[in-house]
């Protein structure tokens, strides 16, 4: 009796999992299908779940369009520069917080830095908008985006690097000191290799957050600099949206973070949980 009950419950649970899987994958499937359809087929009253005329020229159109390519390049420039900056500053600060600045001050400093990530950016962006507007570079520039993305990436990088450095045993470093290493050399030769997987996960997370960012880019930029989320509305011509191009472009733009995630999933759990879960 209990055995059949158990199997029934298990089947129901698996059914729920299956329904959720369908719910999760259907939009992605429909996105891929739409990106392969011509625009006339999309505008029909009854949407087709399998394209009747399959074409890849939507993708060719994306790669032939200089505006789309420039927006992807802009996204790469902003996100990579911001990630490099966050990782560099975060590694140094994380190391100092993990090794040297401790006690009440270090603890509060670390949590204050982390708290910056959680605050709504609304109190940040309105003043920065007017500040950058009065500066020679203006709001619509690489500089303004790269600096503003530090609002969420610098606290994350600093906090996570601190967590990773705390996990790396201090004894190895002390042994290096005894062997006559300078602190600089001990840091590069001993500690940095130990936290290298952590650095990869921090870099990937920072990069994904910068790549995916929409709000700041939408409010600040749009003409000189145009990251890909800001570029998507340009596929709307008058009252008609070219959904096939939107979907093809979106698929191209979202592929890099998805691939990175699949490859580096193992390293990301720790970072996503702010260092709490040792994935």
């Amino acid at each position: 009796m209990t055995h059949t009950n158990y199997r029934l419950v298990k089947t129901l649970l698996l059914l729920f999992l299956g329904i959720w899987l369908v719910f999760t994958l259907f939009p992605l499937y429909f996105m891929i299908v739409t990106s392969l359809k011509p625009v006339e087929e999309i505008n029909r009253m009854i949407p087709t779940f399998w394209p009747q005329t399959m074409k890849v020229n939507n993708y060719a159109g994306i790669f032939a369009d200089p505006g789309s390519l420039k927006s992807l390049v802009d996204s790469v420039i902003v996100s990579v520069t911001n990630t490099a900056l966050s990782l560099f500053l975060g590694t140094l600060a994380g190391y100092a917080l993990a090794r040297w600045i401790r006690g009440v001050i270090g603890e509060n400093l670390a949590f204050w830095i982390l708290s910056n990530r959680m605050f709504p950016p609304v109190a940040v962006i309105i003043p920065m908008f007017f500040l950058f507007d009065s500066m020679p570079w203006g709001t619509d520039s690489y500089f303004s985006l790269i600096v503003l993305y530090l609002v969420f990436n610098l606290p994350l990088a600093t906090w996570l690097m601190m967590v990773f450095f705390r996990d790396a045993p201090r004894e190895l470093e002390e042994a290096a000191y005894l062997d006559g290493y300078t602190p600089f050399r001990a840091f590069f030769k001993v500690t940095l290799p130990l936290v290298f997987p952590g650095m990869i996960s921090v870099a990937m997370l920072c990069w994904i957050f910068a790549w995916n960012e929409y709000l700041f880019a939408n409010l600040l930029t749009g003409t000189t600099v145009k990251t890909f989320p800001v570029h998507i509305p340009t596929f709307t011509l008058g009252s008609q949206t070219l959904w096939n191009l939107v979907m093809a472009f979106s698929l191209v733009a979202m592929l890099p973070p998805v691939i990175l995630f699949i490859i580096l999933r193992r390293y990301m759990v720790r970072g996503l949980s702010l260092g709490v879960v040792k994935g």
Binding site: L14, F49, L92, P120, V124, N212, F261, L272, S273
Partner: protein
């Protein structure tokens, strides 16, 4: 000299298991003492410049009647608490607060519940490990997508007449063939945004809780099995208590992200139709950058900021406790 040594020894004895001071001995700093302060100082200065300075600027302007004209001329007058009074009596702002509460309750809370359930079902019921990892990756994919793209995709799917979602429901016979649900109408728009949020962000608690479940010691489960404990008992008495902290942290991260998140609103509905899906953060942006009513926007931003400050303080206190407990273990 002696006094200093005994003082530091007493200090160490008072907090021997502190997460931040554990295993850390003072006095073997080889580099000059100001080097670490420079290393921490640069990020701190940057954060002061791009976070603290703007916040103070907003605090100042919350008490002024600043608008677009006065920003150009540099003249504004002190109006006291008037901007806060305007914000707190503004129906649009107050209803957006109601929207936010509904959105957090049915969004963030539901995501954590669903995430925990799905993570545990996936771990316990799918025995083939390759299949399990594949399903995990597929379920977690939405989280990695740019929220702006997710918004555009769902705006496309939720179109009333020829939207894919309505027709999926029709094909599954969950909806009569002649009927169309207008998801982005003023009645349903906030629910639609919550739905999209659940679609995208259930993955975060799912991934965190799944990883937490993987790292639980198998010996405990072995013992429970030997004792003949039922699956329900194991879940209630072993799994959930041991995952308590991880679930709480997942909830905290998700809650604070949802609190400040307006990308889906901005892409899918722009607060509409007729202000039915506006969130406080979105209104403050509109007031500040589109309408240039900086004084009122500052007051709204500060109300949002103050609530966030209280929540973050509580959450970080809890997180500190969890991390300290982890370092002892």
């Amino acid at each position: 000299m002696n006094a200093a040594v005994s003082e530091s020894a007493a200090g160490a004895a008072a907090v021997p298991t502190d997460w931040f001071t554990r295993k850390r001995r003072r006095g073997n700093l080889i580099v000059s003492p100001f080097v670490p302060w420079v290393m921490v100082g640069i990020p701190v200065l940057i954060l002061v410049a791009i976070v603290v300075y703007p916040t103070v600027w907003m605090a100042y302007h919350a008490f002024q009647d600043t608008n677009m004209m006065s920003l150009f001329s540099g003249e504004w007058t002190y109006v006291g608490w008037q901007n806060f009074a305007t914000a707190l009596t503004d129906d649009r702002f107050l209803s957006s607060v109601k929207h936010l509460i509904r959105y957090l309750l049915f969004g963030a809370c539901l995501q954590v519940i669903l995430g925990v359930a799905l993570a545990l079902i996936l771990y316990e019921c799918v025995k083939n490990s390759t299949l399990r990892i594949t399903i995990l990756i597929l379920l977690v994919l939405p989280m990695m997508l740019p929220p702006s793209i997710v918004g555009v995709l769902w705006k496309f799917l939720l179109q009333a007449n020829n939207g894919g979602f309505n027709h999926l429901l029709i094909n599954l016979h969950l909806l009569p063939a002649a009927e169309r649900i207008d998801w982005l109408s003023s009645k349903l728009s906030l629910w639609a945004i919550t739905l999209v949020d659940v679609w995208q962000w259930t993955a975060l608690p799912l991934l965190i809780v799944y990883s937490g479940r993987v790292s639980l010691p198998p010996a405990v489960y072995e013992a429970a099995r030997v004792d003949g404990a039922s699956g329900w008992l194991v879940l209630r008495r072993i799994t959930l208590p041991m995952l308590k902290e991880i679930i709480a942290i997942a909830f905290i991260i998700r809650f604070m992200d949802a609190y400040k998140f307006v990308d889906h609103v901005s892409v899918m509905t722009q607060g509409g139709p007729s202000e039915s899906s506006e969130l406080p953060v979105y209104i403050a942006f509109q007031k500040g950058i589109r309408e240039f009513q900086v004084g009122e926007a500052a007051a709204q931003a500060w109300l949002i900021f103050a609530v966030a400050a209280v929540l973050i303080t509580l959450f970080l206190k809890y997180m500190k406790r969890v991390l300290k407990a982890q370092a002892i273990a």
